[in-house]
């Protein structure tokens, strides 16, 4: 068994074991243990990767394993990673593990919750290691569908509506994606192998047709404006760990896929349509930020904030240069971590105050210092405070975006950059209303402080945010090493 497949096998085994466990505490422990092993393996993969890069291995993907699956259809189980994938794997492992801890207090159908959660995780891991479009698509759907149950069963509010809307929009998008994948397959010589497709150079007409499909297909999951509306409702209704995973990791499937599949495989069309999608992304950035200003529900605020931040990812991709790509990937990781912490904290607050309405809270800094301080730090990261991961990512994107000197790019870029102000407005509004100010309700005076698993969960994600913010170089170089072929591909297109 190669090490990458282990990343899929371990969660599957965990799920299998969980099926036979009755005791709730045991379920939690096994889930945590399984994901802990998974995290270790992920670190091991990272180490391996860095080591072999260090020893001069320059092939595009490392640790590849090719296993022919459906021979006649040229479908392979083909896995391998590059720096970007490794980074995403790390993100996934961390957030998933944190999610397990954060959900420690789920009482209703605990076992089923963890099973669904880990199945989701399996999908995500599988997605990031796949180099074959078929397996990639398969894992993509595996990752999306448990959301229905997770939101529907353990969610709050209008959960049935939200779950259905989310699932349908995402699956509708994946349907579009399916068409694109088939198109890619047939127009690049009947192969799902991404490397081969990249070198096959699809005809431009086909690219024009299938690129928007693939990009939007993935874009919906990445909450690309105007296909983002599932996200606020979905996030608002989802249980904490699910929001974390979904906003933190799952939405990155969309952005990663848009980058890896849509842009990398169809570079000519990507170049041609970059301005359009860049505009869309820029609008999304500012639109999401403004959307967040008016919200009073913490989860809605964060969901719109995600729309804005993910818009930046698309924006970075569409700037079409290495710096911006780096920024986009960094932003995926940064946003993944930030938003995971956000949702974790919101979950903790909701569990205590039983409200998510910022107007009803106040002065929580005094009663819940740990949660409040972490919230502030993450808020600062979210508005791009230097020293935290958001800054690193955003600056890469902005610097990259400004490499295109023509007017229309300038306008879009300035539009996107101006989101930093609006972001500050909504973040500080929340911080001001919720954490600062006088305590509004008597019963908030003695809320229970954060408990160990909440602290573990939050810190697990918070620390990388700081680490990346203070010492971005290792991550940047990890990503940039792997960007070379993509940059090559996208810049040497015929246009």
């Amino acid at each position: 068994m190669d090490i990458l497949s282990l990343l899929v096998v371990i969660p599957m085994l965990t799920v299998f074991i969980l099926f036979f466990v009755k005791d709730m505490q045991m379920v939690r422990i096994i889930a945590a243990a399984g994901m802990f092993v998974e995290t270790i393996v992920t670190f091991f993969v990272t180490r391996n990767y860095v080591a072999s890069r260090g020893s001069g291995d320059t092939s595009e993907f490392l640790m590849t394993k090719d296993f022919t699956w459906f021979e006649s259809l040229n479908i392979h189980y083909f896995v391998g990673v590059d720096g970007i994938a490794v980074a995403m794997l790390l993100l996934t492992a961390i957030v998933l593990l944190a999610g397990i801890f954060i959900s420690w207090n789920i009482e209703d159908l605990t076992r089923e919750f963890y099973i669904s959660l880990i199945i989701l995780g399996t999908g995500v891991f599988g997605f990031f290691i796949s180099l074959d479009l078929f397996t990639m698509f398969l894992f993509y759907e595996v990752a999306v569908i448990p959301m229905y149950l997770l939101i529907g069963i353990w969610g709050t509010g209008p959960k049935e509506y939200a779950a259905m809307k989310l699932t349908l929009m995402l699956m509708g998008a994946s349907a579009m994606l399916l068409v694109a994948i088939l198109g890619i397959y047939y127009f690049s010589g009947q192969t799902f192998n991404m490397q081969e497709i990249a070198h096959a150079h699809m005809p431009i007409v086909a690219q024009r047709f299938f690129f928007p499909m693939a990009f939007v297909g993935f874009g919906v999951l990445g909450a690309l404006f105007p296909f983002h509306t599932w996200s606020p409702d979905g996030h608002a209704s989802a249980p904490t760990a699910v929001s974390m995973l979904h906003a933190g990791v799952l939405m990155k499937l969309g952005t990663y896929g848009a980058f890896r599949v849509a842009m990398y495989l169809m570079p000519d069309a990507a170049n041609e349509m970059s301005t359009f999608f860049m505009g869309l992304a820029a609008i999304g950035v500012i639109y999401g930020a403004f959307g967040a200003i008016r919200q009073t529900d913490l989860k809605y605020i964060n969901a719109y904030s995600s729309v804005s931040h993910l818009g930046l990812i698309f924006f970075g991709m569409m700037a079409l240069n290495k710096t911006a790509y780096t920024g986009a990937v960094l932003q995926m990781i940064s946003h993944g971590l930030m938003t995971a912490v956000f949702f974790a904290l919101i979950g903790m607050l909701y569990g205590r105050t039983h409200t998510r309405d910022v107007r009803k809270m106040g002065g929580l800094l005094k009663v819940l210092p740990f949660i409040a301080v972490v919230y502030m730090i993450i808020g600062m990261a979210s508005l791009g405070l230097p020293g935290l991961s958001g800054f690193v990512a955003e600056m890469h994107i902005f610097v990259g975006a400004f490499q295109n000197p023509d007017t229309i790019h300038r306008i879009f870029s300035i539009l996107a950059v101006s989101a930093i102000v609006v972001t500050a407005v909504y973040i500080l509004r929340v911080v001001g209303m919720m954490l600062m100010g006088p305590i509004k309700h008597q019963e908030f005076e003695d809320l229970p402080k954060a408990v160990w698993y909440e602290k573990v969960g939050a810190l697990l994600v918070l620390l990388p945010v700081m680490a990346i913010g203070l010492a971005p170089n290792w991550l940047v170089s990890l990503i940039q090493d792997s960007l070379a072929p993509i940059v090559e591909q996208l810049s040497h297109s015929g246009y």
Binding site: T229, G291, R294, M395, P405, I420, A424, L428
Partner: protein, 645 residues
Amino acid sequence: MDFKFTIWILILPTLVFLFTGLLGKKMPAKISGWIGTASMATAMLLAYKTAYEYFFQVGFVDGIRPTIFAYKEVWMKFTDTLVFDMGILIDPISVLMLVVVTTVSFLVHLYSIGYMHGDQGYYKFFSFLSLFSVSMLALVVATNIFQIYFFWELVGVSSYLLIGFYYDKPSAVSAAKKAFIVTRFADLGFLIGILLLSFHAGTFDFMTLVSEDGPLLAQTAPPVFMGLSIFGVALSLIFVGGAGKSAMFPLHIWLPDAMEGPTPVSALIHAATMVVAGVYLVARLFPAFQGVDGGAVLHLVAWTGAISSLFAAIIAMTQDDIKRVLAYSTMSQIGYMMLALGVSGMEGHHGLGYMASMFHLFTHAMFKALLFLGAGSVIHAVHSNLMKDMGGLRKYMPITHITFLIACLAISGVPPFSGFFSKDEILAAAFEQNKILFAIEYAVAGLTAFYMFRIYFGIFWGKETVYKHTPHESPLTMSLPLLILAIATVFIGFIPFGHFVTADRALYDIHIDPMMAGASVGVGLIGILVAYILYKKESTLADGVSEMFGQGYTWAKDKFYMDEVYQFFAHKMMFAGVAAPVAWIDKNIVDGFMNGIGWITETFSMMLEDWQSGRVRQYAFSFILGLLVIIFAVLYLNGIIDFKG
């Protein structure tokens, strides 16, 4: 001389920040204070050592003061040319700032030990102070424009935290928010400016940007916007960032509100250090400002400075909250510095404005910190910010009184106090460049003297208020900084500043033009005299005068309604004009579209319901009809039948 030790100036406060921030809660409160103070004292000594070594041991190389990179490490590589370094740059202005920041910071630390005594968030306060200090110090030693931006944001956030220190007071919270957002808005300009500049110049590095054969100065770029070249636009935007941080009109509205923070914070951040960051930024890029587009951007700088200083001085005369008066005064004085930069040239005597600006920055830091700390001492004693709650305090608080008086004299430009020297140079520089600007500043000098002595008399003389608790002099930790600063205020004016900091970094000897000096002192004395007449004794005279100005007085007292204008923009335009429609569109159009798809599908489904009627005859009919349609369609497609006949 490698200045490697300078890194400790940054490391020490960082460690203190982490230490007190994480563990402060578990320790006795005092310890955080003393640790912070001690580390700042060490940093201060190191800064003096740096200054000494730089100015006296390194001295001049080829007649100018050299630029030394103590550290320069790649922190982030955007592209091959655009590299974000972190480092320590040693040159006259950065050393000057190191000295200023560490000195004021140390004194404020010391002062706060007494001032913050008994406060719940004692350790937090010192932690934040350290965070601010380190950010500010790293800002001033930045080697490139991105490093400045990096720490620029960090000082912003520490300012936010400190303004909002009393976070259960809604006014403090909103003041903190306002400060952050307004400066953030300015930073947007700064950031866009950096991005534009760096793209077109191909570098972030200060040395490259300002070097004569660098990308900015060596060539003339074509005008792109209002007669400015792209570099001019970029520099203007960068200046917007500076103006925001330095509370220049019209981005000043956050500064008076920022007085909600504890007074030592006002002294450190909102008087001596952070607010002059904008001035420092312009000075840092001065050759570029001066060279690009024939110095067109400098006109913007000069006029912004002039307007701000006048504007602030007028408002300052009407305010009752002493901290607000000081805040407007700060704004006014920074206006001076900006103006001085704006009228400055590069070489020799032409560079007088630059030198004067830096000099004023230096002296202002001292006397304004002194004023704030003095005011803090008063506030500490009477538990109020308002002038009406004070009066006759000279008897109770002699040290505060004397030091405050010294500072007032200094800011009014009375020799031999330091303010006189620096302000005089500024007026001289302005006079040579632009008579209108000079006239404005000259008037402002008089106004300054007036409003400063207005509060001086209001606090220490005037009618004696009945105090609940008898005010008493502050403890030693608080009065000692006052004394130190007072001494500094008296003597630093005699420093031959031209020997240290000049625009072209060559040696320059200041000479005081007796005419100019006489005129400026004269107007200052007139101001003091008027204040004396109006406020020395309790009288209705002042009210009469203010009534004389009628509407004008009210406008000034209401700060020319700038807050309301902003309120209008922020709430009416952004919230109601953009955010609300966005929310509506999102809910009804974007989301409505998605829900609409579902609705349409369902409606179709309903419409089809009758088709499945349950009647077998109808089924057969559909069967046959369907078959016939298919048959005809297929025949038509194959060209066997043609409906056209």
